[in-house]
């Protein structure tokens, strides 16, 4: 018997737009099996997962059934639902920082349902909490019990949440994007913990993710959800290598991979080299366009030790090239980007754009404008990078008219031309940012950066907040523009797979230092530095793509060592 069986489950809002959020979703999870539920944002995957525990938003109409361990969750009485939540299934949420009450201790979190719901004694519950913390690989269980969430890192806190979910020995574990807010090495550790615990307890696992690579590495079967409908399901290799529905095909094609695909997918990604601007005559061949010499930046925050964000970084990007700066959070990659565009001042070192030093703060208007014309930036957050009050076209026009004496008609036509280049039209130019989608906003941000006519464009995680299919489109736009304009690109990212698609050279940063630097292809295929190797090993990849079986996916032993270190 399936531990979870969802049949023809539909859910629609009864207020406002009457939107149908889920349409006849059916899926099942057997004991001991890992089932992936894959979809982009708004596909309804989180709603489906929550429904399994009877967690539904108010003011909705539902039909179909959700049967958890033989009990229909929707027709069960409140006490039965509580019993199911207490002993049959538990859930690990995406962001432990907001999922664990910040005002209560870790010990309280781990023991509260044992003491309050299962009537354990305090001592027994604490004993169990210690065991759980140990089993998820936390270094100092006794100390952690008395700590508060803000004293732990995101990765550690996610382990706490997993421990909490395991406290009542559930038979089904629902994981809702449990690693999305974590760095890739931490993700690998958490996935290691989850698979280990699942194997030990023989639980069924429903794993919700937007990351096809992760699902393929982890799951036995997957369901692909699009706009509230299951468009495809089956064995993971089958779905991944031979997708049937158009949506899945598109999703697979858009999902970047660091590793050479062994299977052919539709619309194969063009290699970065092919996109390089056509070779110019030898005489015009590249001077170095962007150069940083021994850049350093340290932050001093009262009460904390000085934080060296960027330590003695030297780099050079030839005209028309693309350099990727890759690193996890806290690596200093964004600080580097902000120094290059002049948003932060370097403590030491020099920045040269087209041979001119730009390290000093621009004092006069002429200096400011001059600097602006050399380098522009696109930021990560599509929701905050546009002025909410200004229509998209006007934002671009502002930048145009600051730098050029233009009549209204001239600037208007230039705005439309720029919008055309990023794949947008006049109606987008007249729209307010809030009515645009994330991908459209990032295109506007790119158009705004181009309006100034820069020689270097910095993309600071510019596509990482987007769904994969949208990300693929925006990257396409970037490539197109790069080819046409001969732009020099500095591409800041945490995602090696994306970097492989875009950049010829790659630099890996860790805690402010450059640990490795080289041709992207060489660096990915033959990493020299242990940290680069760790990064690559941490990237989830399907079993059938593992060329070298001796490279395990985040062995639990090594993750424990890392935390202990």
């Amino acid at each position: 018997m399936s531990i979870l069986k969802i049949s023809d489950f539909s859910l629609e809002l009864t207020t406002g737009s009457q939107a149908c959020l889920l349409d006849a979703v059916s899926l099942s999870v057997e004991e001991g099996e890992t089932v992936g539920l894959v979809g982009e944002s708004g596909s309804g995957k989180s709603l489906t997962a929550r429904a399994a525990l009877g967690l539904l938003p108010g003011r909705t109409r539902i039909s179909g059934s959700v049967v958890l361990d033989g009990t229909d969750v929707f027709s069960a009485g409140p006490s039965q639902v509580l019993a199911l939540r207490r002993s049959t299934a538990s859930m690990v949420f995406q962001d432990p920082r907001s999922g664990i009450n910040p005002m209560r201790s870790i010990g309280d979190y781990l023991t509260e349902s044992l003491i309050l719901c299962n009537k354990w004694s305090k001592a027994d519950a604490s004993q169990r909490a210690l065991e759980l913390l140990r089993s998820v690989g936390l270094p100092r269980p006794e100390a952690h019990l008395a700590q508060f969430p803000h004293e732990l890192s995101g990765g550690m806190l996610q382990r706490v949440m997993i421990a909490g979910a395991l406290s009542t020995s559930p038979r089904l574990l629902i994981c809702d994007e449990p690693t999305t807010s974590l760095d890739v090495t931490t993700q690998a550790e958490i996935i290691g913990v989850l698979t280990e615990q699942q194997a030990q307890h023989g639980m069924g696992m429903l794993f919700i993710t937007h990351d096809l690579n992760l699902a393929s590495a982890l799951c036995d079967r997957i369901y692909v959800l699009n706009a509230g409908t299951v468009v495809e399901h089956g064995g993971v290799q089958e779905v991944f290598t031979n997708p049937q529905s158009a949506y899945t095909q598109q999703l697979v094609a858009a999902t970047p991979s660091v590793f050479t695909r062994t299977v052919s997918v539709i619309n194969p990604t063009r290699s970065a080299a092919a996109l390089r601007p056509a070779p110019e005559p030898e005489s015009a061949r590249p001077a170095v366009m962007l150069e940083a010499r021994s850049l350093s930046k340290t932050y001093y925050v009262k009460g904390n030790p000085p934080l060296v964000a960027v330590n003695n970084v030297t780099l050079a990007v030839p005209r028309g090239d693309a350099l990727a700066v890759v690193g996890e959070s806290g690596s200093g990659k964004s600080t580097l980007a902000r120094m290059i565009v002049g948003l932060e001042q370097a403590d030491a070192g020099d920045i040269l754009v087209a041979g001119v030093s730009r390290a000093a703060h621009s004092r006069t208007r002429a200096e400011r404008l001059d600097r602006a014309r050399t380098v522009q930036i696109v930021f990560q957050d599509p929701y905050l990078s546009l002025d909410p009050r200004i229509i998209a076209g006007a934002a671009v026009e502002d930048a145009l008219r600051l730098h050029n004496k233009l009549s209204h008609a001239q600037s208007r036509s230039q705005v439309l031309a720029l919008f055309d280049q990023v794949g947008l039209g006049e109606k987008h130019a007249n729209a307010r940012p809030r009515t645009l989608s994330g991908g459209q906003r990032q295109r506007v941000a790119i158009a705004r950066a181009l309006a100034v006519g820069p020689e270097v464009l910095v993309l600071d995680e510019a596509t990482s907040a987007l769904d994969v299919s949208v990300q693929a489109q925006v990257l396409e736009v970037v490539q197109e523009i790069r080819r046409k304009r001969g732009l020099t690109l500095l591409f800041i990212s945490h995602d090696l797979a994306v970097v492989r698609k875009v950049c010829e050279t790659t630099m890996v940063m860790r805690r402010g230092d450059i640990v490795e630097h080289g041709q992207t292809k060489n660096l990915l295929e033959n990493p020299q530095h242990p940290y680069t190797q760790l990064l690559l090993d941490s990237i989830p990849r399907p079993e059938w793509e593992l060329d070298q079986p001796e490279v395990p996916l985040a062995p639990n032993t090594s993750s424990a060592q890392i935390i202990g270190a």
Binding site: T15, P78, A372, S385, R448, V452
Partner: protein, 286 residues
């Protein structure tokens, strides 16, 4: 099914469309008050200060719709003239405090550093003096009337506006769109005044609208305890005070009419201000 209802964190936009009838009514009430204040000399049936001792506490009649007070003065006319001082005082306070608050808040947020810290200290000190207390102290120093309390309350309310402006601008200036303006070469002053300030103004406006209600109540209270507008000038607070004798003898209309006016205006202003702040996504802290 109710037992299964989860907190609405999955679907956030499940808000009922607000009935805006209340909002419209409030706008109409406010408009009526403003019009009768401005056009009092034309609209009022009597001179508000003409004493008619033959016709005191008349109760509602066809000649005096809201009756007369203990000196035989027409209550309706006094209400209309009273709207002038009752509304003008709060208006002055709101305009002054908003102007000062925006200036100081913007400076604190944009300049930062020691200036920000110093202003924060000064605001903290001023917060320890409730507005009405500062107004009473001002009367003690400079004598009764509206002038001293209006200035005192402007000073008392300015830090509230300044603190709000500061926090909004500080949030706003860390947003990438502001960074984008900088990278494009716009000057700091242009960004602050032309882009960031207009973005925070709606929220500041909503807060100032709410402040208008509080100030109106405070100034009316001041006149009620006899420290504000002085007889024989018509003012709602002062009228309530003057009619207390009649109230005790069971004649409630001369006291109730201005009382209801005060409550109506404050409710209307609160609803208008809250509607604004709701439409802005509830950014106002209190």
């Amino acid at each position: 099914m109710r037992a299964l209802a989860a907190p609405p964190s999955v679907v956030k936009s499940l808000r009922l469309p607000r009935a805006s009838g209340l909002f419209l009514t409030s706008l109409i009430v406010a408009a009526i008050m403003v019009v009768s204040a401005i056009a009092a000399p034309i609209l009022a049936p009597y001179n508000p200060n003409i004493v008619d001792l033959a016709n005191v506490l008349s109760g509602p009649t066809s000649a005096h719709w809201l009756g007369t007070d203990a000196l035989g003065r027409d209550t309706l006319s006094r209400m209309m003239f009273g709207a002038r001082s009752s509304l003008l005082g709060p208006l002055l306070v709101v305009v002054l405090s908003t102007a000062i608050g925006i200036l100081l808040g913007l400076i604190a947020a944009w300049r930062g550093g020691w200036l920000d810290a110093l202003l924060a200290r000064i605001f903290d000190l001023l917060f320890a003096f409730p507005a009405l207390l500062l107004a009473i102290l001002a009367v003690a120093l400079f004598g009764k009337g509206l002038a001293a309390p209006v200035i005192a309350m402007s000073i008392a309310y300015a830090p509230f506006v300044a603190r709000l402006v500061r926090s909004l601008v500080v949030t706003e200036r860390t947003r990438p769109y502001v960074a984008a303006y900088r990278v494009q070469g716009f000057s700091g002053g242009w960004i602050a005044l032309r882009r960031v300030l207009p973005n925070v103004m709606p929220t500041v406006g909503a807060q100032s609208t709410l402040n208008f209600g509080y100030v109106l109540a405070d100034l009316a209270a001041l006149s009620f305890i006899g420290l504000g507008v002085q007889a024989p000038t018509a003012d709602w607070g002062a009228m309530i005070n003057e009619s207390r004798g009649a109230l005790m003898s069971g004649q409630i209309l001369p006291a109730m009419a201005p009382t209801i006016a005060v409550v109506l205006v404050v409710i209307a202003i609160n609803i208008i201000g809250e509607e604004f702040s709701d439409r802005l996504g509830g950014q106002i802290p209190l």
